[in-house]
Amino acid sequence: MPPSLTQALPTILLPTLPEAQSPCATGALAGRKSATMQEQDSRREDDQLIARSQNGDPAAFDQLVVKYSPRLYGLVYNMTSNHEDTNDLLQDIWAKAFRSINGFRGRSSFPTWMHAIAVNMSINFLKKRGRRSHLSLDDIDANVEHDKEFMELTAGSTPVRETNLKELQKRLNEAMQKLSHEHRAVVTMFDIQGMPHAEIASILGISEGTVRSRLFYAHRQLQAFLGEFHQN
């Protein structure tokens, strides 16, 4: 047997490790692992806070309020497009969560449960409010100027670059209000908050296929509403 072949045998027999092939794959995998671990840690923390709340510890419930209010605010605000209504709804949502916390059995995650309450109460509120327009704009955070997508949108010779940011925000809110409540909820959770299809389906109690079809239809409608503005 030639010496080159014998030297090559151990390397042939060793299994190849895909993680070691490129540093990019290693980084992405490490990122996915850390996100999963973060989710697990978050869920463990939620379970402890929920258990303490169910045992009558109001401070634990306050911590849940502080933790999930920003996400719920984004959901409700994009449904109502009105700051005052969002504030009132948030208080009602947390009041209902406080009354129902003892019935939470952990079949779904706490964020999913809270989102389901928020979506249902928002839709019920919007149905009662009717078609009256109550748009009010929140201040856009200054960090948006550093957002990559914002820079891409405002770069180049497109009309968006010359448009006032407030005007763009207003047009987008008007377009969102023209969607039905169910379509707006799906667009808010997927496009704005970045939730996966499975979680949205779990929150709304529908199938993933229905989520995808509603998204497709809502995008077509928004494109039609915003197309005229974009051309002008």
């Binding site: 209010s69 920003p70 019935g103 494109q223 915003l226």
Partner: protein
């Protein structure tokens, strides 16, 4: 506007935030609302809320069906209890209805009724005159009918002990003289032993 541009535009909405300090004020407002609700609500309202929350969290179709079935059963039971009962009479303290023309529930296997059955159903009229129809039906009549009405012929007297008494009554010259003083019998009551028992007649009508 293509899909990617639209999605990018929508993602910018996540930067829309409330004013600074909003979430701290929100927490304080939530605490105040909780205290206010507890102070304002009565115990009854709090219990009702807890009741609704309990059943909404345990909302399964099986519970709904069980609850509906139990509700129907309870309503049916209460409805049956509230049905008007027949008033009791002197001959039947239990309140069973005795029709004037309907015979008692005696279903004889033979054309001639059994003496025991007759005695148990006609305790008051044990001394009442008995006569047999041509079809073999035993019939009792109140005393006032003895004066003028002709009696039908009696048949098969040997099978009934009470028939002998009837024979003695019939052979007397003056029914009113031979008859001892008897207590007043209710004229409305008349027992007719028929081949068709009373219980066969339906007690309800559509």
């Amino acid at each position: 506007m293509n899909d990617d541009q639209l999605r990018a535009l929508l993602r910018l909405k996540r930067y829309e935030q409330p004013p600074e300090g909003y979430y701290d004020r929100l927490l304080i407002q939530i605490r105040q609302n909780q205290r206010t609700e507890l102070l304002r609500k009565s115990l009854w309202n709090i219990a009702l809320d807890r009741f609704r929350t309990f059943f909404s969290s345990h909302n399964t179709p099986a519970l709904r069906y069980a609850g509906a079935t139990a509700g129907f059963a309870l309503a049916g039971f209460l409805g049956l209890r509230m049905l008007p009962q027949d008033p009791p009479t002197a001959t039947n303290p239990g309140g069973a209805e005795i029709a004037e023309a309907a015979p008692p529930a005696i279903a004889p296997s033979s054309p001639f009724p059994v003496p025991q059955a007759i005695q148990t159903t006609m305790p008051v009229q044990s001394h009442a005159p008995l006569h047999m129809h041509a079809q073999g039906q035993l019939q009792t009549q109140p005393q006032h009918t003895l004066l003028g009405d002709p009696w039908p012929p009696l048949e098969h007297l040997e099978t009934l002990r009470s028939m002998q008494r009837t024979q003695a009554i019939r052979t007397s010259t003056s029914p009113s003289q031979s008859l001892p003083q008897r207590p007043q019998i209710q004229r409305s009551t008349r027992y007719i032993i028929d081949a068709r028992p009373v219980s066969y007649e339906p007690s309800f009508s559509f």
